[in-house]
Subunit: 367 residues, 4 copies
Amino acid sequence: MAGSIFGEKFKISTWGESHGAALGVVVDGCPAGLPLTEADIQKYLDLRKPGQSEYTTSRGEDDMVEILSGVFEGVTTGTPISMIVRNKSQRSADYSEIASYYRPGHADYTFDAKYGFRDYRGGGRSSGRETIGRVAAGAIAIKLLSLFGVKITTFTKSIGPIDINPANFDESRILTDKLRMPDENASIKAQGYLDKLRSEGNSCGGIIECHIDGVVPGLGEPVFDKLDARLSYAIMSIGAIKGIEFGDGFDVARMTGSENNDSFASKISGSNFDLTTDVYKKTNHSGGVLGGMSDGSQIVFRCAVKPTPSISAPQRTINKNGEEITVSIKGRHDPIIVPRAVVVVESMAALTIVDAMLMNMGNVIKS
Amino acid sequence: MAGSIFGEKFKISTWGESHGAALGVVVDGCPAGLPLTEADIQKYLDLRKPGQSEYTTSRGEDDMVEILSGVFEGVTTGTPISMIVRNKSQRSADYSEIASYYRPGHADYTFDAKYGFRDYRGGGRSSGRETIGRVAAGAIAIKLLSLFGVKITTFTKSIGPIDINPANFDESRILTDKLRMPDENASIKAQGYLDKLRSEGNSCGGIIECHIDGVVPGLGEPVFDKLDARLSYAIMSIGAIKGIEFGDGFDVARMTGSENNDSFASKISGSNFDLTTDVYKKTNHSGGVLGGMSDGSQIVFRCAVKPTPSISAPQRTINKNGEEITVSIKGRHDPIIVPRAVVVVESMAALTIVDAMLMNMGNVIKS
Amino acid sequence: MAGSIFGEKFKISTWGESHGAALGVVVDGCPAGLPLTEADIQKYLDLRKPGQSEYTTSRGEDDMVEILSGVFEGVTTGTPISMIVRNKSQRSADYSEIASYYRPGHADYTFDAKYGFRDYRGGGRSSGRETIGRVAAGAIAIKLLSLFGVKITTFTKSIGPIDINPANFDESRILTDKLRMPDENASIKAQGYLDKLRSEGNSCGGIIECHIDGVVPGLGEPVFDKLDARLSYAIMSIGAIKGIEFGDGFDVARMTGSENNDSFASKISGSNFDLTTDVYKKTNHSGGVLGGMSDGSQIVFRCAVKPTPSISAPQRTINKNGEEITVSIKGRHDPIIVPRAVVVVESMAALTIVDAMLMNMGNVIKS
Amino acid sequence: MAGSIFGEKFKISTWGESHGAALGVVVDGCPAGLPLTEADIQKYLDLRKPGQSEYTTSRGEDDMVEILSGVFEGVTTGTPISMIVRNKSQRSADYSEIASYYRPGHADYTFDAKYGFRDYRGGGRSSGRETIGRVAAGAIAIKLLSLFGVKITTFTKSIGPIDINPANFDESRILTDKLRMPDENASIKAQGYLDKLRSEGNSCGGIIECHIDGVVPGLGEPVFDKLDARLSYAIMSIGAIKGIEFGDGFDVARMTGSENNDSFASKISGSNFDLTTDVYKKTNHSGGVLGGMSDGSQIVFRCAVKPTPSISAPQRTINKNGEEITVSIKGRHDPIIVPRAVVVVESMAALTIVDAMLMNMGNVIKS
């Protein structure tokens, strides 16, 4: 469990530190025959890169990807796809100070406790930049899924106290909205809220929701490798995510069986009835997963994102000598992690679904 | 991803169906030298077995475990530990009917969609009896952890609308309480609520909370194999669990950075300061995990358990011909899954922590 | 690497000691829909059980298998298949003595060095009885492969100095021959040789050869998971095997490129030419594998089996106090391991091929 | 089993094609605290690079390595170590022709059969250049092992019909000898033999032997993950290797138990006797492994390397239309693979031992 490899058959191996020479990922297990260009990858990296708005750090990172292997004449060959993003000369000076103490809410302390020391520059491996490899690999997974009719829609459901109004849901504006909100009014309110927090040197959290459409029923394995268990593993492995729920999620704790159960129905019946294409559910409290396998309905999950821990407001902590001190985190930081995390959540979801599809092959003897 | 094997180094392979000849588990990777008897295992199986109270199914299952290998003269040998629980003659008649249709909230449909058919007797592999193997293996993990000073406390936090009152928290009564609630008043209220539901042929959900104490800081791997990601994978793999959260969990979505960050403090400072033993946090919003690694504070998570899907109240669904029908689930079913799931949650948590401890070895070169 | 689990998708988890309550295996990842009965398994267990001739130990072991899960109404369900073989009351007395010293050629010393102690009864986990689980699982793999036209033929190529004469190769007699030799003359000579060794309280080694026919070209992964690398891992994991070679094997060290290269040819050419079905090689020096992938020719490998280390002739060794002593191994032992190992080799080969076939699925995007 | 990842805990993920932009490897699971520079890696890459003598291809490849992550201030951090070697502009023209047919002894056909097409430039992923990643990762493993007193010595045992004379064994000259032979006379003879083959446009095979000293007894897992099974998997995954044997290897097939068993002895006896440090074997027929675990003696294995399949002498094969043709492989090729493969074998052996050491941790409860 070295910890930087994800997937059973569609395996990704990410690497790189915030202020190292570069970051990247190796994708081992991508099927041969997929048309792939650097533009396919760049499109998604651009959605996570900083400086997209006043709500994302203004660090000047281009994050241009280069594909180094696994693609021949524009098509994947079935061999490992290595992708790299060079770090531009980072201002390590910004970080020299934090080498001496432990930032609240960060992994500084746990890294030192585990390894005895750490690459303190910009958080090193625990920096949000680690997700570059996830997004680059996720872009391939998303393209693969599109060939099988699977579509993933991920958006910001809430920021601090401001929730989107489902009645105003406008998918078309997600990628253009500064906060990835599908509801313009909510986005404007949230921006005002964030402006205030920023002026106070503070930050806030939010909720990201993900919808996965087009997954055939029966995906996922019955016991430990349930589809929702694998998705939870994938999403909870993203820094700053503190919880995940499927369908009615935590609300089921207050519900009764008659409220929570979804009735099955069928488009047709009789001799032409097809179990895998004609069945639907009248409701979707389950969030598209039953017994760990996709049930043909939309897969729905939400995850909670904690506030950016880097805040300029004064905080108490200790230095490496165990002395209590007051610190104020300098540097350029996002007042909210959510908007840039949306594409990361979508990437991890796509990687999980692709892996489940590949692992599902051969589960039954076709006569 | 055949799906019935869990763990990287402390691997468990569970097997068995509700109405098959037996159920069991093989534990591969348990260190040699652990004193182990069948009584150590039986103690935990008894906590999950049915018929413990009017709130758990009265099916007469003894679930007596037999250790078949891996233990010599009362001590583990380092070779696989095989444990088996024979099924007593089950009344398959109870289940012949459900072979023909898809129970709402169950895996009947997804199994058929995936495999084309299923062992319909008592839910087959998707039955709650599948957790027998998890609990038997978990008992070994819990005993191992106790040698390293790790203690896990798992309990019922809420049932339907009734929450425990933290002020009344009484750990000593968890295992004796019919509902595994550490608050007598809450338990009495919940029992009344359940009595009413049962009379209506209904069921309800609840929340289970788990506290893990004594974990050294630095456990868990920084990227994909974060300790909270592995725990989420383990817990979400339990049937009926629809969500999990750590520390402040979903509440972080409404919090600010200054509210959510935990300040570090030290018991002592200066030359005797020890990073791994002297540091503590003044609060524990993080739930004991930072950057995917244990931070030395109590690890805290909660998971949402859905209502028992088997209810006698009439429900609409379809049969194998796609015809809509109304069904009423017969047989003896728990009106609430939570009490018996508590030990399953504790087992999966223990298995995850033991595995993380074994995988953490050798992460640093000790000079 | 707990070490008792084999396979990436068709995973088997074996367990059990020579003198424990039972031995067995859990097969996780077997496709649903395979007709399977205990007779299918017993047939292969009978080929490895002792007492088949004067050249195999006369220990009275029936080794009757029981299928405990994963099969419903005579067909595999896609869930784990657990199989168990009870040990009959073993005469542990036979083994009490060897607890005190280290038998030459056995794992007694390495077990103690690794774990500090061992289950010394009949070799415990390192006993040949460990292979019961491999053969039970292998029987399923062999039946699966037959559905895909893959046939495995395994036999004794040599015993001590006696080799079979390819000109006399008679496949039909392999399973009936006491020594699993396809050449009657060689078998008679070998039996005479073994009679002499037995009278001297000695033993000898031999070579097992395996032919795999019907494997489509392209099976196996290009780099680390080459088909021959996976087969070598599987075969070398069998106790007593000291070497393996494919095709011309070690002879290639003396050959030139023009001698060793196999020329490709085609049954037809032109528009109807099919790359996967029409190509053949005029020779098969490669043993059916090129670049780690099957090349459509017969897969051929040989493995060397060491002499039974348990011999009654006096040997020097040390006891647990480090004192040198002379020992004579009592008990009933095979003068030759080869005949009973033939089915074990075939089982491991089958498990490897099935796993490679399942892992090969989805390697290319089918349009 | 995507196939380009090796190791359970010390995991390496290699990538890259012969004529792609670059080749490299990501090492996930290297312990923190190891001093590491690019010079440590380059030293081993230089041993495999072409153009070292007239017996290795004269392609002008510098193969300069760059470390992109996982090292901070000259020490490994415990995070993934990414290493890259840029390909210099390759003359793809050399290879355009072979795109149309299948070279005997190469993976051209099996790649097309598996994927439907291939990167034909210089063999693409099946090129010997794939081993650059193995050697770069192996260099780290070798440095790690040196800290634990483990030393690996790998050399050319034979080339064609010429064997080294053990009596002349001179370890000091291995790395300076053009053919990596520890026997000057044999090397001179072999060079003459190779000169003749080259003039004929032919090639030949040979044998590489590897000695591993300093491994504590008890390394390796008893059943499937035997140390010799893992080493066989690793070594057989190297292109051109057709067989492997340990200790007496295939000779055991002709030996008797009394000849093959190694007697245990002890340096001392009595109260000071230490099982793990005082025991030795009077002989080493086992090659340092008993029951799949290291027995404290030198680990010895040999592997057979086939002749370079690329020869300019005319050969018969087929083109993509299934038409038989005669070809003569152009380009610059080694007349012998062995000398450059020596460091690859040593690298794979080191990676296997390091992984086994890490997986061995925690196998016993230390009180």
